[in-house]
């Protein structure tokens, strides 16, 4: 009995020693002579599962880059895990990726709260939290406390401010009603709108929030219509935005509608009652693959060919899915950053590169946009255009506007 136990312990000790001897101490985790390992946590199941397609889009792009020789002689290995939009699982995934998989950096994890949940953990361990898939202003703004974090898309509050400024400039006697998702996302947009309206903030006559557990937002829209507003802000997600347009149409209401970028995909706008959708205004910074505007665009053609060649289980619907494009745009910037960081790749050097970006010609965002960062201005994508929905299509108008927080 005892003999067997001793033997087992000896074998175990030998195995551990062998493993320890075999492992070479690695200066930078996740970087070898031939490979860079990036990690991400996104929802691949549950309500938010379609947003998880950003990771699939990025994955396809990295494979494309690898096929062309990689970055500075290294291939990119991209591991992304499902968190079902649950912050507890996002934390678990991130710890697994950082400690078990030893990734070089976390890239484009999705969800404001999920990224908030892991931000301290990553920063305390000096692991880069790159190009977070969330427009919450804090990711770009609080760099003094969290120097290893950087966002990507324009902050939601700026989007609201842009709408506000447009209203002040272009709508006489505005009476603004707001339908917003009652969480930080919606409230960010609302506070931005207020700021943009400036002195005219009093023109907000009604403001009704809805909870994501609602089954339909018609009661909210009904309440807003009763305020006799002539402007309606739809700061809502996905199906709630659709329901809002439905309700507006059913109630025979004809306000000037502003819809937030996240819900402005052509695929969504084209299935709501057009009498409500026509004339709606939104902002845009990426190329919507479902829009006829970019049908023959080189960037979108590239996007679709990359998806077809390097994507996994891609359906024809996916080729028109803006989440894939958004993922690819972010991946493009990631590759730019890695190239800039050079062959001597460390976590510090990649953060330096990420905070000194001046990327032009990202094929998956609007032409003319420059993805620009400085150590004190960590908002990579801050240029947008306004667009108007007309005859089943978005038509951008005006010049590129700045969405950089002032």
């Amino acid at each position: 009995m005892v003999g067997v136990r001793v033997l087992l312990v000896c074998l175990l000790a030998a195995a551990v020693a062998a493993a320890a001897a075999g492992a070479r101490p690695n200066a930078t985790p996740g970087v070898t002579a031939t490979e860079i390992h990036l990690g991400s946590s996104v929802p691949l199941s549950g309500e938010a599962a379609i947003a998880g397609n950003v990771a699939r889009g990025a994955e396809a792009y990295f494979k494309y880059v690898n096929a062309k020789g990689g970055v500075n002689g290294r291939r990119i290995k991209f591991t992304y895990l499902d968190d079902g939009y649950d912050p507890g699982r996002a934390v678990n995934n991130t710890i697994r990726l950082v400690q078990q998989e030893q990734v070089f950096a976390m890239f484009s994890s999705l969800g404001t709260n999920n990224n908030l949940a892991v931000r301290k953990l990553l920063n305390d361990n000096k692991v880069p939290q790159l190009f977070v898939s969330s427009g919450a202003t804090t990711f770009g703004r609080d760099y003094k406390k969290y120097p290893w974090t950087i966002g990507y898309i324009p902050p939601y509050s700026e989007e609201g401010a842009i709408f506000g400024r447009y209203i002040v400039k272009n709508i006489k006697k505005p009476k603004v009603a707001i339908l917003y998702q009652d969480d930080d996302y919606g409230r960010d947009l609302v506070s931005g709108l207020r700021r943009g309206l400036g002195a005219k903030a009093k023109s907000i006559v009604a403001r009704v929030g809805y909870d994501p557990t609602s089954s339909d937002v018609q009661p909210q829209v009904t309440q807003l219509k009763a305020s006799k507003a002539n402007v309606l802000m739809v700061f809502a997600f996905g199906k709630f935005s659709l329901q809002a347009f439905n309700a507006v149409s059913r109630l025979n209401w004809k306000p000037q509608i502003f819809v937030n970028d996240v819900s402005s995909a052509s695929a969504l706008m084209s299935i709501v009652p057009q009498k409500a959708a026509n004339g709606a205004i939104s902002i845009v910074f990426g190329k919507d693959p479902a829009s006829s505007l970019w049908k023959s665009d080189k960037g979108i053609r590239l996007f679709q060919s990359i998806l077809k060649q390097h994507g996994q289980d891609i359906t024809s619907r996916d080729l028109k899915d803006g989440y894939f494009t958004a993922g690819m745009a972010t991946a493009y910037t990631m590759v730019t950053t890695l190239k800039k960081a050079g062959r001597n790749l460390t976590r510090q050097s990649v953060m330096n590169a990420a905070t000194h970006l001046n990327e032009k010609g990202n094929p998956f965002v609007l032409p003319g946009i420059v993805i620009h960062t400085t150590p004190k201005s960590r908002f990579p994508l801050t240029q947008v255009r306004l667009q108007r929905w007309q005859n089943n299509n978005w038509r951008p108008f005006g010049k590129l506007i700045s969405a950089r927080p002032r």
């Binding site: 499902d82 912050p87 678990n92 078990q100 969480d183």
Partner: protein, 340 residues
């Protein structure tokens, strides 16, 4: 009877030994995974007392975990009159707060039975995550509360993951012993009598109200402790940390572990954790079947796999892992009993 007792104590000791040595065999992250399994196990122990022993179905125990988790968050961040409480000491407080909530729920539950109770508790699971959103101020609202990262205390040379592991399983073993001891005695017998026939139990003088409410309180206490530990491990709580589906997963773990069996619950806890976080591994196994080619990352695959596995397990093992264990051990014990 004596033999059964000896077997149970041996089983407990074996478990304790396994728990003690496990971290030396596995990676640091795996320690964390086993720690989370341990947290589910603690919650399931409580649920086992409630549903397995007193027969009351609760589809809302995620809410009690949330109460525990939020208690820990608030105490360790804001503290009592400005003094943050050390995270370990918040655990028993979280348990007690959750336990009190359980008693509160247990009272009206007396008037409900069977599926009505199940649905009302499900209603609690659904409603509870809404509360922090409304009372944003000190509960953190949708963006939640960020806790301090866990560190081993008293200068013990343990990684945070190993520390969480030992803390969790230490508490789990203690709570397992408590539950086992409780259920062996008059309380356990009373609860089982109630489960088997409330009318008969009442006629033999058992105070239904007392025991049924007690069962709710105890099970909520356990869930609260589990929630507190989970909050510590995640260093973050918001309404999505303890979502509706958590309550469902707990019941799933209970059914798979087997009603009326404490040991089987470890299997249930492992299943809950494994299916959520390693659905890709399962997808890869399934891919070995002919004509099956699944992409583990495709949205929907993990839900489909979870669902299919659940159905299969329930069809094949209606009495769960515990039932299987009992079937395996029964010939052993009965043969030694019957003398012919």
């Amino acid at each position: 009877m004596k033999l059964k007792l000896v077997l149970e104590i041996l089983g407990f000791v074996a478990l304790a030994v396994l728990v003690a040595v496990m971290p030396s065999f596995v990676s640091d992250f795996h320690s964390r995974e086993f720690a989370i399994v341990g947290m589910y196990f603690i919650a399931l122990l409580g649920l086992g007392v409630l549903t397995g022993y007193s027969g009351q179905i609760s589809l809302g125990h995620g809410a009690f975990m949330a109460i525990g988790g939020y208690t820990t968050a608030i105490l360790s961040v804001d503290g009592i009159s400005g003094h943050p409480v050390r995270d370990i000491w918040t655990i028993p407080i979280a348990g007690v707060v959750a336990g009190l909530a359980g008693l509160l729920v247990g009272l009206p539950a007396l008037r409900l039975s069977g599926l009505y109770l199940a649905l009302i508790t499900f209603g609690i699971a659904v409603s509870f995550p809404q509360l922090p959103k409304k009372f944003g101020g000190f509960l953190g609202g949708t963006s939640g509360q960020i806790l301090n990262l866990v560190k081993a205390p008293f200068g013990l040379d343990l990684t945070p993951n190993d520390w969480m592991y030992y803390l969790t399983w230490g508490i789990a073993l203690v709570l397992l012993a408590v539950a086992w001891w409780l259920l062996r005695g008059p309380t356990g017998r009373a609860l089982q009598a109630i489960r088997d026939s409330e009318v008969a139990a009442a006629s033999s003088g058992i105070n239904l109200a007392f025991y049924k409410t007690l069962a709710f309180g105890i099970s909520a206490f356990y869930a609260g402790v589990a929630g507190a530990l989970y909050a510590m491990a995640s260093a973050y709580v918001n309404p999505d940390t303890f979502p509706i589906i958590l309550s469902i997963y707990l019941v799933v773990g209970l059914a798979v572990g087997g009603l009326g069996s404490l040991g089987g619950l470890i299997a249930g806890a492992a299943l809950i954790y494994f299916l959520q976080n390693h659905a890709d591994t399962v997808a890869r196994w399934v891919n070995h079947l002919p004509a099956v080619d699944l992409n583990p990352k495709q949205p929907g695959i993990s839900s489909a796999i979870f669902g299919a596995v659940l159905i299969l397990v329930m069809l094949l093992l209606p009495t769960g892992a515990g039932g299987l264990l009992r079937k395996v051990f029964r010939p052993l014990t009965t043969r030694l009993y019957t003398r012919s």
